[in-house]
Symmetry: C2
Subunit: 324 residues, 2 copies
């Protein structure tokens, strides 16, 4: 592999000139540029980006931490991140944490070892609480999709409270009064905001949700199935169930059909995310559609502002939903 010095020899100029001819062509004569270009072509020279990034003290990598990226919703978001990042010359380092805290922390430390310039965190945990390597300085981390309530880092999230209220609205308009919930892990902020939005709206209409009609899931298909099994065992079972994501709704659907009940006649089902598969299911699942392409670009913008130290109008972006 040839390096910049080889090129400088062939072109008959100094290394600095080669560097400039390639990086800031306007600083160099047309003639020189041509000589350098010729030498580059002759040698098949490719600049060593590792060397450049090292010298510039920037990796041009963004680390994306995903709790589970086989969930199509996250894949969509990541695609948005990647596209936007690329347009700014950044690459994506993938960090599928599989919901494992120690993997998350280990990966997050790539930031501290200079392998990434920033982190986009797709789940609501600040990865440096223990590490507290922050040492006062603000680490370039952006929280996206599932966000913590904090001002210590920028967030990009859906109006979860509003969305859950809309779901409640919908069920109320259909005259449901016995309503079940298949929620996420109770300590997750996502769960909390969806829960509070949903319950508050129901409350306003004088509908209450029985304790035993609330089951926790973990956003997986299996957990949805399990939760629904429990709900089906109840003496007076709900006539409508709000699942906090589509995958759990799929699991629920499966169980409802398995016992011979009909959707939505016997039990109405509402999901969240609007995965493409939800349009295929029989019947088509009612679900909250998130603008999954919107998260990535917003998160990248926030992160770059943090990395490059400039300000944006707002550090907390809230995207809007649509009930489908």
């Amino acid at each position: 592999m040839s390096n910049i010095r080889d090129v400088s020899k062939v072109a008959g100029v100094s290394v600095a000139t080669v560097s400039r001819a390639l990086q800031k062509p306007e600083l160099v004569t047309e003639k020189t540029r041509a000589k350098v270009a010729a030498a580059v072509r002759e040698l098949g020279y490719q600049p060593n980006m590792m060397a450049r990034n090292f010298r510039r003290k920037k990796s041009f990598n963004i680390l994306v931490l995903v709790p589970d990226f086989s969930n199509p919703f996250f894949s969509k978001v990541i695609r948005g991140i990647q596209t936007t990042a690329r347009s700014y010359g950044y690459n994506i380092l993938l960090g599928d944490t599989q919901n494992h805290e120690d993997i998350e922390e280990e990966m997050a430390s790539l930031l501290l070892s200079n392998l990434a310039d920033g982190i986009i965190q797709l789940s609501a945990r600040f990865p440096f609480e223990d590490l507290n390597a922050s040492g006062g300085r603000i680490l370039p981390i952006v929280n996206c999709c599932e966000c913590v309530e904090t001002d210590s880092m920028p967030t990009v999230s859906l109006d979860n409270v509003g969305a859950a209220r809309a779901v409640a609205d919908h069920l109320i308009s259909l005259d449901h009064t016995s309503i079940g919930i298949i929620s996420g892990p109770p300590d997750s902020p996502l769960t909390k905001s969806r829960l509070s939005g949903f319950l508050s709206r129901l409350d306003e209409s004088g509908v209450s949700v029985r304790e035993d009609c609330c089951v926790d899931g973990d956003y997986s298909i299996e957990s949805g199935a399990l939760a629904m099994k429990e709900l089906l065992r109840l003496l007076t079972r709900p006539t409508a169930v709000f699942c906090f994501n589509d995958e759990m709704a799929y699991g629920a659907m499966q169980q409802i059909k398995a016992v011979g009940l009909r959707i939505p006649d016997d039990i109405a089902l509402v999901g969240f995310d609007d995965l493409p598969y939800s349009r295929i299911m029989e019947p088509s699942l009612t679900t909250v559609s998130q603008p999954s392409e919107g998260f990535g670009p917003a998160a990248v913008e926030q992160l770059l502002a943090l990395i490059n130290g400039y300000d944006l109008p707002s550090r907390h972006i809230q995207l809007s939903f649509e009930l489908k």
Copy 2:
């Protein structure tokens, strides 16, 4: 941020000793190791991996090129890649090419600019045909999942021919004689091998497939729906349809139901991939299950062999399927 020289000063030893204490502790006295450890702790020193990788001339990154990673099958494979790669100290650079050749090429050039040590290519194109930057040397690229027929790079693939034969077997055993195919892009190797396996087995049983019963898709849900629409328009429509992946089968399913036909009574449907959603659909989709967790580890092993220049028993891994 402190660097190794700061540490060496605080610890009262040379930089070389610090480096050794951290990298090869066995080369250093217990006492020195302790002094260095103390200094590291005091300063909160984190080695600069960019500097290290630069010096070592290795990025410890693997670039994964995916045609469309919102397809859950690929996500699973990538998860396997990531897990295995991590266990060898490698990180994953994500390259969602969105089936775009120029994005693919642009991303692949990260290899030449030293930002990645190797590529795992999840679609069947050799990204350096034009670039031919290879210049004789073997580039560390492994083809995975959808593979080209070549000996110029290692491959990890499913026995697609066998799987397609098994599907044919299955349909024959159900006495189908009018069979349709929703295939992939005709020039793709994946399509070719599935097609040839399927047709050859049918042929052996004296069943032929009418020209107009073969429709090309592009592995998306929409294309499956479109293709099925075409098949449904036929005067004598097939009684069974083999879709080359599950997503297209979903699209097909939707159309079949839309015209009021029943699966499998009126039309039997077979898919490929065994996505989790296929178990939820009504009726559950018959499909070829791929060991999606198997691809990643095998591909990484192959790639590391290439990168580190050692030999493996075989450079062409074939995984086996299961009809579900």
